[in-house]
Amino acid sequence: MVEGSADLEMTTQNISPGMDLDDKTRAELERAGVIVTRVDFLYNWSRSNSVWPLTFGLACCAIEMIASATSRFDMSRFGSEVFRPTPRQADLMIVSGTVTKKMAPQVVRIYNQMPEPKWIIAMGACAISGGPFKQGYNVLKGIDRYLPVDVYLPGCPPRPEAVLQSLNYLQNKINDQDIKADPAFTKGRRQYPVPEFTGTDLEPPYNPEVWSPPENPNGEPVVPPKKTAA
């Protein structure tokens, strides 16, 4: 690595706080070609700048996802233009669009096939909560019922700029990871049970490991006032 290059500067700034190296010693070491850094930092830095998303379009939002990869918005500026069609080579899943009950098992299955470390961006109102189709009988009310979502990206559809911003958030999140403590690194590949589509509904309705129904803040269920005859 060339001395004084951008990479070297970055490493010197982010040195581990636990190690007492004064600036002079570090500068000397660097001159001799030794960089002192944490494995965490180096690992996260390289990870976050080469996120490979999965080519995985579900509905309208997918078009904006593609648009964010094309020349005008150019996702490759952030190191993640390599869209991979196979889950085995991807580490970011952008759930872009409405997840229906028929599709949800496949989404979980694809997620299970992805190698660690892996992240999820829930893109669009539909993937977050069901969006405009929430009342529908066939729409899953948020992919976070089955999978752990890292970044929620609201919008219908979110603009390509927003996709880039969510990627930035994800990069920040990756940079904060602690390799030793993170379950993604300690426990091996995370696999979640695939729900079963019974024709009318999904069984089970959610995965208690990652999601549970919100509790009523008042403790008591709110009873709607009785309608008086008009």
């Binding site: 379009g57 309208c60 593609i66 648009a67 094309t70 005008r72 229906t100 496949q106 694809i110 405009p132």
Partner: protein, 356 residues
Amino acid sequence: MGPHHPSTHGVFRMDVKLDGETVVDLKPVFGYLHRNHEKLAEDMSYLASMPFTDRLDYFNSMTNNWAYALAAEQLVEIEVPERAEYLRVIMAELTRLVNHVSLVGFFVNDLGALGTPLLYAFREREKILDLFEQASGARMMCNYFRFGGLRCDVPEGWLDRAREVTDRFPKFLDEYEQLLCENEIILSRTQGIGKLSRELAISAGITGPMLRASGVAYDLRKVDKYGIYDRFKFRVPYGEEGDCYDRFMVRMLEMRESIQILKQALADIPEGDIMGKAPRVFKPKPAEVYGRIEGPKGELGFYLIADGTPKPYRYRVRPPSLINLTVLRDMCLGQKIADAVVILGSIDIVLGEVDR
């Protein structure tokens, strides 16, 4: 194949039976994006389903809006002002350009030319999306049409910008045609592949560019003359063989005709109102109507049954993609598996519309 497959244009599955590499049987499986569009619309007021029509075929929100507005306007007989009619035509033709240009990009992508043509296509698409955004406030989900007109007038200077985009578009088309139309690989991968005969196309109810590629010059813009299409001069391109190459070329030629329409419309657009006298509360008398337009993918129709309440009793969409998809099996039998992908690409489906 599918539902997660890079070239199924969304979440579409094909059960393919193969003999070596030859397709001997094929069964399309849909429903992975069924979003209860029709059922939801029956439970809300007429105008409230307008934004949902955007999400049917998410490339062409403007034409979807138009078809729905056309159906609802028949229910209460609203006059649409002149300027609104012109703007509608302009928006619809711009949408057609967006759709065809992205379709060709995806189609060539399916052929294996990963990236470049698609990037060219999306570059042009962005220019038109900017126009949509300036007019309606959203890039894709425009929600711009109202019963009896449009939601708001276009901003100042918009028409000039639209003229500029229209004038520059043919240059891009020249470039695109030079790049693709005589490309040896494209010729050999598409000519004679996936033939659809004229008789089958008519009896299966195929519409749009697919029907025209099979040699039937049928265009609702000429047949129905809805809106003010009778005022414009344009030609209807059609093919002879009905193979993938014809379908591809029909779309390329249609873009040129759209530009002709756009030029005429942008030249004679009058000043004036953009909203007719629509009733404040939309509560039509019991009636049954069917409004249809020539969408970029084919005949898009909305069938409404009103029962005197503010909500439709029945709301039915005739999606061109779904009906064009019904002949997929006939076109794929006897072809190679790699060609099945190309044939699917040439049909031009959007799953939001197929499954609704």
